[in-house]
Symmetry: C2
Subunit: 193 residues, 2 copies
């Protein structure tokens, strides 16, 4: 027990996570909840057909405007079988990337905070979708995925049960898992002409 307490009091950097700074950050936000208010942004521009490009750089958080260290640019398109030009994955595939990377980031942080060294975290995600929805062929078929499955393989210097608990804790605190499973209000404004 005393070892566990010591570990909690003096967390070490682990898994590439600066654990002391992470825990200090959480404490700082706990003392000043306004630091927790974040606003993320993306600017998208149509290229042609179903192909568009998104730029991501600035965001608000920790009490002020922030910038990623560089601007990130991502395309999206439809595949040729859906009459796109396959310049990039489809928008719905980026949902799978968002979910996998959110759960995995949480696993990295939580493992470090619990003193577990990770050896490997890999996940395979699949989403099932009936395109009769978006193609306007059926009003009984929803437009989006009807289900998503995520399968994680996790290896590290802890018993299987403890590793599985880290994944479960990440799920409980995942922003993307929350948005995908519970939904979020989206407001759409249009300036036309």
């Amino acid at each position: 027990m005393s070892t566990t307490l010591t570990e909690k009091k003096m967390p070490e950097p682990r898994n590439g996570v600066d654990t002391p700074t992470l825990l200090a950050t959480i404490n700082a936000v706990g003392a000043q909840p306004e630091l927790a208010q974040f606003r993320f942004r993306a600017v998208n521009r149509w290229q042609q057909g179903t192909h568009s490009r998104t730029r991501i750089q600035s965001f608000y958080g920790a009490g002020g405007e922030q910038m990623h260290e560089r601007e990130f640019t991502y395309d999206a398109d439809h595949p040729t079988v859906l009459v796109g030009r396959d310049q990039a994955p489809t928008p719905v595939e980026f949902l799978l990337h968002a979910l996998a990377s959110c759960l995995t980031a949480g696993i990295g942080n939580i493992a470090a905070a619990r003193g577990v060294t990770l050896h490997e975290v890999e996940s395979t995600l699949e989403g099932d979708i009936d395109l009769q929805g978006i193609l306007g062929l059926s009003d009984r078929v929803r437009n989006g995925y009807r289900s998503i499955r995520a399968t994680f393989t996790i290896k590290g210097d802890a018993p299987a049960e403890k590793l599985a608990q880290i994944v479960e804790q990440s799920r409980k605190r995942s922003a993307v898992y929350d948005v995908l499973t519970n939904g979020v209000p989206v407001e759409l404004m249009v300036h036309a002409g």
Copy 2:
């Protein structure tokens, strides 16, 4: 009216959309709904800390296994202010990319089907999130975005009202808008140890 009917019967390629093939594809799927069953996939691998990498290439659809023309690879990370190394945007920023690109792809297709030539489609998306949720500081704060705003600017050779209707139709048939606003069941499996 007869002009409109003629346009509908003989759609031309427009906006980079092969409109005749698009409409033929929709008709083919209408006659054979099993072609509409798609399964998209992503494989993610933890790098270090909150940094992971996703590979996207194969998917099932149109009655068989398909491959994107090349493998696409995307990273995600947390920014330095959240004790990540800022190797890529956060997972929640990819949700904004997915939403913007899905709505914009629909706008490209729908405008072509309606005989409207687009000059410009740009969108700015913002998502508000209180990190007290994911940091475990409050159980009354959700983990994900509490709201998302999308502002579209659309220009083309049609009246403002018709352009706005194209955006609205895209929203009504957007897979990502549906998933984000209505949620989707996510099944999580773990192989640990």
